[in-house]
């Protein structure tokens, strides 16, 4: 055996231990990643996908009808028709909720019966085998009575369901008639329109939720609302800031990479470092002071200004680095053909580095889309869709923040869902950026 060096065993064990620790550390970093993404997808996803049952269409239809009839500004407003529709609505809702309860019971009872009968058999067997005791007999009797009650309930439901169904048919035809006579539309049509709100999340803006409800599932889908205003806001604000930041970032990057290094370029590089290191809240404060305080109004534009300041350093540095990767020989080739410098920069150098510049822009986009702090100081937030950048606006991260802080569990569900949209946006853009540069990294 080859002899070992002194302290060999201790050194080997320590070596293996520390190598193990690096693996543990890496896994430890990945745990939050998977936990966060997992939670966002599961909890956000359950709010995103809402499955109305077969009667939902009627409910939606009636609610639409009631809303239509309730408009007091309407010259056709008729108090009696409105009261009638309200009554019909409540009858229908009672009917539907009873039906739903009965249906749930119909599904559940056979299972419960089976369990009870098994226990009954069990008790009977014990009595047979080991003799009867008062407790066992009491248990047997109790079980038998429970079974009887359940069978009774089953029979009642069976009898009442057709009755409910016929009552519903009458109600629906009544309401349908009401709808046709009052507004000339069928209940079915009204309901179908409502069903477009299967996924209200992407099409509707915020709505006040009923205080009593404790989750999205418990309330009518038309009441939930969505974050359409946030999606519009995020894309508008980030798009506008991209419009501001791209020319600054790319041209400054061209200056840094294509012209000889001077004190000025060192200073510009230092400035990009300062910008990328500055906390985003500081940038928010700047935009607040320069735009919000001057214009005396919170606005999407102020948010764009703040976000573009955060984007500029990312775009400048990636542009510079990507342009520097373009081989000098390619520039020389264009020089040799008599191309002016600006022309070869635009036609050869920038196209050759295009994928890298696009990556930089995508990463800047992803970073800005997730920024919240500067928006808090600049766009304020709004509950409706706005296309006007000069007004207060909504944005996904801001909605996530506000709905998280809101005590209502429904708003919390919405926060998860808006977080899901935001995370998917950011992750997709990041993966896209990878995909754009995959050739370069290979």
């Amino acid at each position: 055996m080859i002899n070992q060096s002194p302290n060999y065993l201790r050194r080997r064990v320590f070596d293996l231990f520390m190598r193990g620790m690096t693996i543990v550390a890496t896994l430890l970093a990945l745990v939050p990643l998977f936990l966060i993404i997992g939670y966002v997808f599961i909890r956000g996803g359950s709010g995103l996908i809402y499955f109305p049952d077969e009667y939902a269409r009627y409910e939606i239809g009636v609610e639409k009808l009631v809303t239509m009839l309730s408009d007091r500004q309407d010259p056709q407003y008729d108090r009696d028709l409105f009261t009638q529709a309200r009554n019909d609505q409540s009858s229908l809702e009672t009917n539907l909720s009873t039906t739903r309860r009965y249906q749930e019971r119909t599904k559940a009872i056979p299972g419960e019966l089976k369990d009870l009968r098994a226990s009954l058999n069990d008790v009977s067997e014990r009595i047979e085998n080991r003799g009867a005791t008062p407790e066992r007999e009491a248990e047997q009797a109790q079980l038998a009575s429970q079974i009887a009650t359940l069978e009774n309930e089953q029979a009642t439901i069976k009898a009442e369901l057709p009755q409910l169904a016929s009552e519903r048919t009458t109600l629906i035809s009544d309401i349908d008639e009401l709808a046709r006579s009052a507004r000339g539309v069928s209940l079915d049509d009204l309901g179908s329109v409502g069903l477009r709100h299967y996924f209200p999340f992407f099409t509707e803006s915020a709505k006040p939720a009923p205080v009593m409800a404790t989750s999205i599932q418990q309330i009518s889908i038309t009441q939930v609302g969505g974050v359409f205003h946030g999606i519009v806001g995020t894309f508008l604000i980030v798009g506008a800031s991209l419009l501001i930041a791209l020319p600054i970032g790319i041209l400054a990057g061209v200056f840094l990479s294509e012209y000889p290094s001077t004190q000025l370029s060192t200073f510009i590089r230092f400035s990009t470092d300062v910008l990328s290191a500055a906390p985003s809240i500081i940038v928010g404060v700047t935009a607040y002071v320069l735009v919000v305080q001057r214009t005396k109004e919170f606005s999407g534009l102020a948010g764009s200004v703040a976000l573009s300041v955060l984007m500029v350093p990312v775009i400048t540095r990636t542009t510079e680095e990507m342009l520097k990767l373009v081989p000098t020989t390619v520039r020389e080739a264009a020089f040799g053909l008599g191309s002016p410098k600006w022309w070869l920069t635009l036609t050869v150098v920038i196209p050759a580095a295009m994928s890298g510049i696009v990556t930089g822009a995508l990463l800047a986009f992803a970073r800005a889309a997730g920024e919240t702090a500067p928006l808090l100081l600049t766009i304020l937030g709004k509950n409706q869709v706005t296309w006007n950048l000069l007004e207060p606006m909504a944005a996904l991260p801001l909605i996530t923040y506000k709905y998280t802080e809101n005590p209502s569990p429904i708003q919390n569900d919405l926060a998860w869902t808006s977080a899901l949209v935001l995370t998917m946006l950011v992750l997709l853009v990041n993966i896209m950026a990878r995909w754009v540069t995959r050739k370069r990294t290979r």
Binding site: S5, R11, R12, D15, M18, R19, M21, T22, A25, T26, A29, L30, P32, L33, L35, I36, Y39, V40, P247, L251, A252, F255, L256, Y259, L264, I268, S271, D273, V274, L275, A277, A278, P279, I281, I282, G284, V285, T286, Y288, L290, F298, V309, P313, T316, P340, K341, W342, T345, G370, T372, A373, L377, P397, T400, Y401, N412, A419, L422, V426, N430
Partner: protein, 334 residues
């Protein structure tokens, strides 16, 4: 031959360069470069000018006073400063060593085929918006943390008042079950700055020349001894720089801190499980609806201090990282 007819000379140099478009293009790009500088100047000017009123009123002394009551125009920023430093310190204590270990794993020990995907996953962690960290902290992590960490520890420590233990004592101003506090903010910040530290450590370790590794292996060092004595010690300035950049990020982080740190603006509690406030969170939560111009000015002054600290920290860190990555050797390991 078409080109032969054109004269080679004739125009003056300056005119010619304008003719070909080179000079205007150069000035155009230079203008946008100057714009980048202008942005920095604008930020600096805004926070300096905006805080003038507060500086005239209090000087910088109020940074070390307690008490925050905008209604009475009574301002003391010490809770915010303390909260910022304490939460960032906790974050660095946790994320620093872990980040370096991850960097070591990614650059030295990880099988080659796993390097790219793992690095990508770590980078994804950095891409998730901070508001989502905050939300996840509130809904998922805080309940877990309270039940399995905060309550057992505070039960164990009780109401200790001696210094190191008092940090872990039961909070006075809010029940420990509320969960929000400096400690939890520190942990969430640690998760957030972990990818920064890991990525920079990886980058500075990867450029350590291979011959340094071989020198240690050739005298019979184990793998870890090689990494510790040959690689980490070679790149230590860069690693410290990476930690400083991570610390800078933690100091300036707003949303996650705002959401989980509680919001105790008046006093400083000795326990880390108690709520507090960070400078960035204070500014973000109060500036949009500031009561008076002095209130706004005070908040901007806090922003100025924050800006100054992060600026210094980043300048030092970049100097270190730059110093290392520019250092001798540089033949990157395959």
């Amino acid at each position: 031959m078409a080109s032969q007819a054109e004269p080679l000379s004739g125009l003056k140099t300056f005119q010619r360069r304008i003719e070909h478009g080179d000079l205007p293009f150069r000035y155009l790009t230079m203008f946008f470069g100057l714009l980048v500088i202008l942005l920095v100047v604008a930020i600096g000017w805004v926070v300096w000018d905006g805080s003038a009123e507060a500086r005239a009123e209090f000087g910088f002394g109020f940074l070390f006073q307690e008490g925050w009551n905008p209604v009475n125009n009574n301002y003391g920023a010490w809770p915010a400063i303390y909260g910022t430093l304490a939460s960032s310190g906790i974050a660095l204590l946790i994320a620093g060593p872990l980040g370096v270990l991850i960097g070591v794993f990614l650059s030295e020990l990880c099988p080659f085929s796993l390097r790219m995907p793992l690095s990508f996953l770590v980078e994804l962690l950095a891409a998730i918006p901070s508001v989502i960290y905050g939300m996840w902290g509130i809904f998922v992590f805080i309940p877990f943390f309270v039940k399995y960490i905060a309550i057992p520890i505070t039960d164990l420590v009780g109401n200790a008042t001696t210094f190191p233990l008092s940090l872990l004592s039961a909070p006075q101003t809010a029940p420990v079950t509320s969960g929000r506090g400096i400690m939890i903010a520190g942990i969430i910040l640690a998760i957030m700055i972990l990818p920064t530290i890991a990525a920079i450590s990886r980058d500075v370790l990867v450029v350590v020349p291979n011959h340094q590794r071989e020198a240690l292996l050739a005298v019979g060092a184990t793998r870890w001894e090689m990494i510790w004595k040959g690689v980490i010690s070679y790149a230590r300035a860069g690693i410290v720089g990476g930690m400083m950049l991570g610390l800078g990020r933690a100091l300036g982080e707003t949303m996650a801190a705002l959401m989980v740190i509680g919001s105790l603006k008046k006093t400083v509690e000795s326990s880390l499980f108690a709520p507090g406030i960070s400078a960035a969170a204070l500014v973000a939560s109060e500036l949009p609806n500031a009561d008076s111009s002095l209130h706004a000015s005070t908040l901007i002054l806090i922003a100025l201090v924050l800006f100054g600290i992060t600026l210094l920290l980043n300048a030092a860190a970049r100097l270190l990282v730059w110093h290392v990555s520019r250092g001798p050797g540089g033949n990157v390991r395959a």
